[in-house]
């Protein structure tokens, strides 16, 4: 009887220690989807043990696909924070370990080999002490450009850009028209010469996305062209992005500062008034923020 009691006490003690070990000293991890493609996981690290002093780590990693050897830019709260490069297969991985626990806005985008930028992915994250947060499965959509802003009906317009090597690009010109599929080259470059004979006289905004096996990227629709009565080549000018006030190809704190200078003032330059209405107010700032590249 006494022996059985001792044995039970022994089992309870062991069980308690196992539980403590499991809950306190084992990293706790959780994983969930935050969109169709992108998933987030968090791993809480065990607290430091014994007399060894560990520096509390707050880590954040991003991984995904962009364009072969492309620049990957990360903004923190709207300002440039980190840059890395995708490999030749267009895969990228970023690990940030110098952050303090706080709430942050991270923006991530790619710049392809021809200086075209992807749409920007944004994440408002709560970073916690001793927690490694992982954002994976980012699949930047193809970049897109057109060679003409207006094309004479019957002529061809070239739609081109870059994506992952050998990715299958789906191009939609109009929701009522059939889509086109283009296989990207091994360097990710794709192009399509679109016949305009059957198109109506109007403006079209092409939409592209990439498929690799069963994984689809999100969509991109950065360029437009008009089928009309003349042909006009697309030329990049300062006014291509209206919010780029200082014409440096970026929309960032400098452009914000220029707009801020004219906020609620009269006699502002016409170009500053992004909505072309009612002076310089928060509507103009809202438009500028939409095009923000950092």
């Amino acid at each position: 009887m006494e022996a059985e009691k001792k044995f039970n006490f022994f089992l309870q003690t062991i069980g308690t220690w196992v539980l403590i070990w499991f809950f306190v000293f084992t990293p706790f991890s959780i994983r969930a989807q935050i969109s169709d493609l992108v998933s987030i996981s968090a791993t809480a690290l065990p607290p430091p043990r014994g007399s060894v002093i560990l520096i509390p780590s707050t880590a954040l990693t991003f991984s995904g696909r962009a364009y072969p050897n492309s620049r990957i830019i990360i903004l923190k709260n709207g300002q440039f924070f980190f840059e890395t490069k995708a490999n030749s297969k267009a895969d990228f991985f970023v690990s940030l370990t110098t952050l303090e626990p706080n709430n942050y806005k991270f923006s991530i985008y790619g710049e392809d080999n021809f200086d075209r930028i992807s749409p920007i992915f944004n994440f408002d994250l709560i970073l916690k002490r001793n927690v490694t947060t992982t954002i994976s499965g980012i699949f930047l959509p193809p970049t897109i450009e057109v060679d003409k802003i207006e094309v004479l009906k019957g002529e061809k317009v070239k739609i081109f850009g870059q994506t992952v090597p050998s990715g299958l690009v789906t191009l939609v010109i109009d929701s009522v028209l059939p889509s086109y599929e283009i296989m990207a080259e091994t360097n990710g470059v794709y192009q399509y010469l679109l016949e305009t004979t059957e198109l109506n006289l109007k403006t079209y905004i092409p939409v592209v996305k990439t498929t690799i096996e069963t994984t689809e990227s999100s969509e991109n629709s950065g360029a437009s062209f008009t089928v009309g009565k003349k042909t006009q080549r697309a030329v990049k000018t300062c006014e291509s992005i209206s919010a780029d006030l200082n014409c440096d190809g970026r929309v960032n704190l400098v452009d914000f500062s220029i707009l801020l200078f004219w906020h609620k003032k009269n006699n502002f330059p016409v170009r500053i008034n992004l909505d072309q209405q009612n002076g310089i107010n928060l509507v103009d700032f809202s438009i500028m923020v939409y095009y923000w590249t950092g």
Binding site: N77, T133, F256, I258, L260, S286, W292, G294
Partner: protein
């Protein structure tokens, strides 16, 4: 008839519910609702927008200045990217603000509960109670704009917060712990025909995790004075030959100084003038000397 009324009621209920769900919500959060006299009152000013991304917000926070005094505003954990109008006291009972949110905002992701996005803090206000009574914080002229590139105004619900100042309650104080300087930041120098007549200006923005940025100062040149500054700042030395230092100071007094080296080398053309002048002096000296020698020779000859 009764059926029609019931259907109408259900239809209206769903319509109202749907519009409420679609709207962003601006509201206040405080750790308690009753305060003693002379007590510090901390109020978090928050926004949630789970259905639509918003990228610009503005409004006026109104408070009863007969009951409380405005003390301070903290934006250290704000989801705001930059202030168009930093929260500041107007007319002794209003705090006006407007700001942008880069990338838009539809909730904070907690990595352990990513499916439930959380509200973001716009700013934290600190007030001090001064008189017994009941009052409330309210929001006037609140507006949100959608992240759609068109500046479309979004739907917004504002929720006031009531509080009681009771002299029978004891007051508590809090202390900000901040021993870290503001984060390193970039100083951008640029010029544009759209501002300052195409002259060079500096733009900058730092962040401080613990207490927020209080102010900035600038020093142009190594021997200049530290002067209060706001971004954008028209540089005094338009030749860009002097070092530019900008100091960000947080609410506790911790500092971070960032430096931009002279963008153009100092103008050393005056050295050429000195050299030419020296050569001229030497030449004149030579001729005078030579002439004197000639005169001497003539004399000797005579």
């Amino acid at each position: 008839m009764k059926n029609i009324k019931t259907i109408l009621f259900i239809f209206t209920f769903f319509l109202v519910s749907f519009s409420v769900v679609q709207a962003a919500e601006m509201y206040f959060v405080a750790p308690k609702t009753s305060y003693g006299i002379g007590e510090e009152m901390q109020v978090a000013f928050r926004i949630s927008s789970s259905n639509e991304k918003i990228n610009a917000i503005e409004g006026i926070v109104v408070f009863p200045n007969d009951l409380i005094d405005f003390v301070e505003v903290y934006d250290n954990n704000s989801m705001v990217t930059a202030w168009v109008e930093k929260p500041s006291l107007k007319n002794s009972n209003q705090i006006n603000f407007s700001s942008i949110i880069v990338g838009g905002f539809d909730g904070l992701i907690d990595p352990f509960q990513p499916e439930n996005k959380k509200a973001g803090t716009i700013a934290n206000f600190v007030f001090r109670t001064k008189k017994e009574g009941t009052g409330s914080f309210e929001i006037e002229n609140g507006a949100v704009y959608l992240h759609d590139g068109n500046g479309t105004r979004g739907k917004l619900i504002t929720v006031p917060l009531s509080f009681i100042v009771d002299p029978t309650l004891s007051s508590t104080e809090r202390k900000i712990l901040d021993d870290r300087p503001p984060e390193p930041f970039e100083i951008l120098i640029d010029h544009s025909e759209l501002i300052f007549n195409n002259q060079y200006f500096a733009v900058f923005q730092s962040e401080d995790v613990d207490s927020g940025i209080a102010y900035y100062k600038i020093k142009e040149g190594n021997n200049g004075l530290w002067l209060p500054v706001e971004s954008p700042y028209l540089l005094r030395n338009q030749k860009l030959t002097s070092v530019i230092k900008i100091k960000a100071v947080d609410k506790v007094g911790n500092e971070r100084i960032m430096t931009v080296s002279p963008l153009t080398p100092k103008d050393l053309s005056y050295l050429w003038y000195i050299l030419i002048a020296l050569i001229l002096v030497l030449i004149i000296h030579y001729f005078i000397d030579h002439r004197q020698k000639n005169v001497y020779n003539i004399n000797v000859y005579e």
